[in-house]
Every structure is written in C-alpha cells, then in structure tokens.
C-alpha cells in the first residue's frame, strides 16, 4: 500500500490535467477489470461484473494547482488557481508543471503580502517571451510542493497525499472485491478540487446501487484545531455531513455495522467547510445511496498533507467490509 501511495503521489495531476495519473491507475486495474475507460470529463472508470448489487467506489485523483493564463514580453508567466489554492499558499514556492517545466512563484515588487493571484508571477528563468513560450503555454497546469517523505513511524507527509491515499485505497478495494466476485466499479474522479465537477457524470453513467467515496478530512488534533473532532491515527471517519452532503441514516447504519463487525472504532466527520464527491454522486438521477469514508489528515485541502498508514489500512478494511455487508 505504501509503495502505491508514494508512486501515485509522484504524479502531477492538477484538476483538469489528470491525464498521466489516469493511465497509471487504469493500468493498475486492467488485468482484473472487465472494462476500463476515460469519460468526457476525465474520470477514469473500471468495472468488474459479478455478484450482488452494483457498488461504485470513488476517489478523486486530482489535486489543487495552478494554470498558466498569460505569458508576457519578458518571459514571465501569470497563473490562476485550479481548485481552492490561495495566493498566500502559492507564493514563494516552486511550481512543477505537467510538461516538466519548473518555476518559482514570486510576489510583484512593491507588494507587501500575497493576497490575490494578480499580484503573483512565475519566473521560469526564461530570457524573453519566445523562450518562455517554448517551455510553457496558456492552459499549462502545475502543482506546488515536494515529494513524499516517510517519517518512519508509520506516517507519511508530502504533496498530493490527499487524495492519492484515497486512490490507493480505492484501487486495492476494487481488486479485492473483484477477486471476491462482487459487482464493483471504481472511479478515479477528475476535477474534484474546483467543486466536485466530474463525479456526477460517472455516477450518471454507472447508476450504482451504492457509492462509497474515499477522501481525506482534516483532523483537529493540532494546535488551535477546531475544524472537526477528528484525530490522526484514530481510524477512519464516517462522513455525517459536509458542505455538499448530509448522510442518510440508512447509510450511517451500514458503515457502523461494518465497523462493528471488524471491531473498528469509527470516528465521525462533521465538516461544513468540505466538499467531497459524495454529495454530487448522491444527487445523481433519482438519487443514489452514497457514503463518505474519510481518512484523517493534517492540513487537508492545502498542497501538502500528513497521513497515518494505520488509518489507511483501517479505511481499506472498512471499505471492503461495507461493500460486503451491503445487500446481505
């Protein structure tokens, strides 16, 4: 699992530019899936037909990033955010673009504090427009932050762990359930960071009987932590509500039963600031039973995050158990 997380987190996949990680993920399920495809919005979808009700497992593969929107005569770039990244998070950091170009996000001379992206520019070391245009183009996506560090006590930190961890969990759960002969689909969703834009299209196409979404959620066992009541290392959380969903009680019962059967202590997520794919899927067509299972992270939503591998393992077990419990 850890190897998969590290491998997936190495991919650069700002929202809307998920192309490369899509291939990695679909390659990883190709051998066991009946069919795989990428849809119009960039979701990567694999299905294995089998017994029981059709369950869709979803995890977003995109991450917040930036996109080049202007190149000036002197070869400097301007960028806009994709997803919820703020100017203060982006300023003074290295940016790595999907085409291999790297740059430094700088604040215009004379500006005191980065508050808006209009104050920022990206220096890629180009001497003039022509050189810049050979290494960057309008629409080029990039991300901030560095690779994954293994802290050594079962915890990892680094860029894009939220939600490559979820992708790794979904990937493993899909393989395990497919091997057990269940009727299961996995969707690695695109464009979650700008507002859960793509998940609904996949749910519309698949029409599952149940969807389970895996995503990161901020733990508040940190100085000043007030956002949630969650603790890192205390196990997976059931999503009671976020900005896009309120869980039906029947779904809550399903996840609680699965946790009880495993002897897992469940945490409960109440996070009005978050917006996962869960709500978008829930409101598809006539309504779809949708559950969110979250693993706690420190600093979710920002470019980098810290996770606990014990939470990751427990989230995987809970997910598999919940699918097996469903429809019994």
């Amino acid at each position: 699992m850890k190897e998969w997380i590290v491998r997936l987190a190495a991919e650069i996949a700002p929202s809307g530019s998920e192309g490369r990680i899509t291939s990695v993920l679909l390659d990883a399920v190709q051998d066991i899936a009946d069919e795989t495809h990428m849809d119009a919005l960039g979701n990567a979808i694999a299905t294995k037909r089998g017994e029981g009700p059709h369950v869709m497992i979803a995890a977003h593969m995109d991450e917040p990033g930036v996109m080049v929107i202007d190149i000036d005569d002197d070869g400097f770039l301007r960028v806009i955010p994709t997803g919820g990244l703020t100017a203060s998070e982006a300023a003074f950091r290295q940016v790595a673009f999907t085409n291999g170009t790297v740059g430094l996000v700088c604040l215009e001379d004379g500006e005191k504090r980065p508050e808006q992206f209009e104050q920022l520019f990206v220096d890629i070391g180009a001497k003039h427009r022509q050189e810049a245009e050979s290494r960057a183009f309008i629409g080029l996506g990039g991300v901030l932050g560095t690779g994954v560090a293994d802290i050594g006590n079962g915890r990892l930190l680094g860029r894009a762990l939220d939600n490559r961890v979820g992708c790794a969990i979904a990937l493993h759960a899909f393989r395990e359930l497919a091997q057990l002969g269940r009727y299961v689909s996995v969707v690695f969703t695109a464009q979650n960071a700008p507002g859960a834009r793509a998940a609904q299209a996949a749910a519309f196409a698949l029409e599952p009987d149940l969807a389970i979404v895996v995503d990161g959620v901020p733990a508040s066992d940190v100085p000043g932590g007030k956002r949630t009541a969650l603790k890192l290392g205390a196990g997976p959380a059931f999503k009671v509500m976020d900005a896009g969903t309120v869980a039906p009680l029947s779904v809550k019962q399903l996840i609680e039963d699965a946790a009880d059967a495993l002897g897992l202590t469940l945490q409960y997520e109440v996070w009005p600031g978050g917006r996962s794919d869960t709500g978008a899927i829930q409101l598809t067509r006539e309504g779809i039973l949708a559950a969110g299972i979250s693993y706690p992270v420190h600093t979710a939503g920002a470019a980098e995050a810290l996770v606990d591998l014990a939470d990751v393992e427990a989230t995987l077990r809970l997910l598999v158990a919940a699918v097996q419990t469903f429809g019994q």
Partner: protein, 353 residues
C-alpha cells in the same frame, strides 16, 4: 376530520432536520395514504404519494411538493466539561439561538439542552456590541462530561424545542412552521380534491433536505418528470423595516411567485384561478432563481414547468415562526382548483413560446 390544523400542530412539535426526516415522514405517511392510491419513499427519503386523475389516455401529471425538513444543528465537537459545539444545516440567525432550548437527538433518546454563550461580565466591552457567531455558542446538557461522552456522538442532530402557541385570529406560532405549514397545505389540497373531478394525476411529495440546498427536489424532480411542478413554501410576512416587495400580509391569501425561473403560464393560470374562485392572493416577484424547491424543479432532467406558492410567515427561521391557518386553507383551495382545471391542452401549451 374538520381540517388538518391539529396535525399541523403535531408536525410543528415533531423533529426532522435535513437528512433525518423520518419522524415527520412517519406522521404524514398515514395521512397521505388516506388520499392516495400509492405512497412510496425513495432513496433520498422523499415521500411520493400518487392520486390518479380520471379519464382515458394521456393525463396531465402535476407534482405538488412541500419540504418536510426544518433547519437544524449538528454536533461537531464535545468540549471539556461536556459542552457541545455545533454547526448548522440550514440558515440560523445565531442571535436568536442564545438562551434557546434545543433537543439533541442522541442514540439512546432525546436530550434537552440550553444554548449558552459567554456571559456579559466575561465579555470584553468591544465584544458586547457584537452578536456571537454560532461557533462561539455551546449546548449545555447539564450533565458531567463523562455522561455526555457516553450518550452523545459527533454527528448527532439537534433541533429547536418549542411548543405551539395559538394566537388570535387563527394565527399560530412555533418552530418549523417553515415548512410544516406547506405539508398542511398539501393535505388540505388533497382533501379538497376529493370533492372535485380532476383529470390530472397528482404526485403529492414531501421532500427532504431543502434547507441545505433543495437536494431532495433535484432527485424527485428528475424521477417523476411531471408536466407541472409546484413547490409550496413559506414567504416573508410583512413586518416593519422590510422592503415593500419582500413583505406579504398575513391573512391576505397565498403568495404566487413570478420571475424568470418560474413558468409564466402556470403563474398566470394560478392567478386566473384565484380571481375566478375569489381566493385572495398576493404576487411575489423574484429576479433570481427562487430559494425554494421550484428552483431545482425547473432544471431537473429535460427542464420542468415550475411554480411556487406559499403563505407568508413572520420571523422566518426562528422558533416563533407565525402564520395564519386561514392562509393555509386559501392556498389549498387555490391548488385544488388549479389541479381540477388542468387539462392536456394547457400542458401542451406550456412549451409554446
């Protein structure tokens, strides 16, 4: 039964916030069954009751919807001392919550709590002039932290606690008149329809999760895809200090909404029906998509002809929402006559521009 006012009073003291509408659903389903041939509950928890029209061939299909959820709170953290921090599902004015009695719907049963805030003598002078945000308020269960932790879990839902007060002139006050008043309208309409001959197949729907973004309406609108979808929801009762076009008199009949996202022919027909049957009515103008289920209905699936009617209430989103049962009856008369007069020619005309 004379009318549904006793039921309304029961509904106003029943607790059901977004995502946990079960208690209200359980109360209304038997009443819907007394009028409908079939009553179903969908994945989201919407209740759909079908009342068949008469006549052969294609009949008009009309959906009448009232949301059954009320604004509610959710336990987000348990603090030292056993005090609860909450977040909201639906828009509260936190100023109205201070000192409010609430019910925490815990696994082992309902618990009473009082909403507290920092007392004045501990508040800095500059803070005293300001209202406390919801994040500064807490719920006091008056029990030790250990007992709280045993009984209450993160994610437990919280609703307002308030008896119903019967005021003068058939006006009643309490919590969740938004939108239990419209559930009463729904039932009063079905009651009146029994005395009328109607071609239209009626889908009487109690929707869920309106207060968090018209969510139940989105899915039930897609599922039923009626010819006409009418949302029934409350609007602003006249009160000093409000703009004239956002104020509707109590006892002056239902407000019929007009605006870009509502079907103008359905609007016009509702007005005509009111005029012909001498039903008092008021017109509400909306420049933006309305903040009611009709908004979601209009863009469900291929697009639906949407309308919005409802009674005015004062003090919306507080525990003393006040409205008039006379308005409820007039609104039901309007809807019953509209449905009775709906025919296929009108339905076909809805797409003619």
């Amino acid at each position: 039964m004379e009318n549904h006012q006793p039921l309304l009073e029961q509904l106003m003291t029943t607790h059901a916030g977004p995502g946990f509408e079960g208690a209200v659903r359980d109360v209304i389903v038997p009443h819907l069954r007394s009028y409908a041939q079939a009553v179903q509950v969908d994945v989201m928890g919407n209740v759909v009751a079908q009342v068949a029209g008469c006549g052969e061939g294609r009949r008009p299909r009309v959906l009448l919807a009232a949301h059954m959820d009320e604004i509610a709170l959710v336990v987000a953290r348990i603090e030292a001392g056993g005090f609860l921090r909450v977040v909201q599902t639906g828009g509260f004015d936190p100023r109205t919550l201070v000192g409010q009695e609430v019910v925490v719907h815990a696994r082992g049963g309902d618990l009473l709590a009082v909403v507290g805030s920092k007392p004045p003598h501990l508040t800095a002078p500059e803070e005293r002039g300001k209202a406390a945000p919801l994040s500064d308020l807490y719920l006091d269960l008056a029990m030790p932290e250990s007992a709280v932790r045993e009984r209450v879990r993160i994610g437990d839902r919280v609703t307002l606690s308030r008896d119903v007060y019967l005021l003068r002139n058939r006006r009643l006050a309490g919590k969740s008149l938004d939108n239990r008043a419209s559930i009463a309208i729904l039932l009063e309409t079905l009651h009146r329809l029994q005395q009328l001959i109607h071609q239209a197949d009626v889908y009487a729907v109690a929707t869920v999760q309106e207060e968090v973004g018209l969510r139940g309406a989105q899915t039930v609108g897609f599922a039923v895809q009626p010819d006409v979808a009418i949302a029934i929801d409350v609007t602003f009762g006249a009160f000093p200090g409000q703009a004239a076009d956002e104020s509707f008199a109590l006892d002056a009949g239902p407000a019929i909404s007009f605006g870009p996202n509502l079907h103008r022919k359905v609007f016009q027909r509702l007005v005509d029906v009111a005029e012909r049957h001498r039903i008092p009515y008021q017109i509400e103008l909306s420049q933006t998509p309305v903040g009611a289920d009709a908004n979601a209905f209009q863009v469900a699936g291929p697009g639906l002809a949407a309308a919005l009617v409802g009674i005015p209430i004062r003090y919306m989103h507080t525990s003393v929402e006040t409205g008039s049962y006379a308005d409820i009856e007039q609104c039901a008369r309007l809807l019953a006559h509209y449905i009775a007069e709906l025919d296929m020619a009108q339905v076909e005309d809805l797409s003619c521009y």
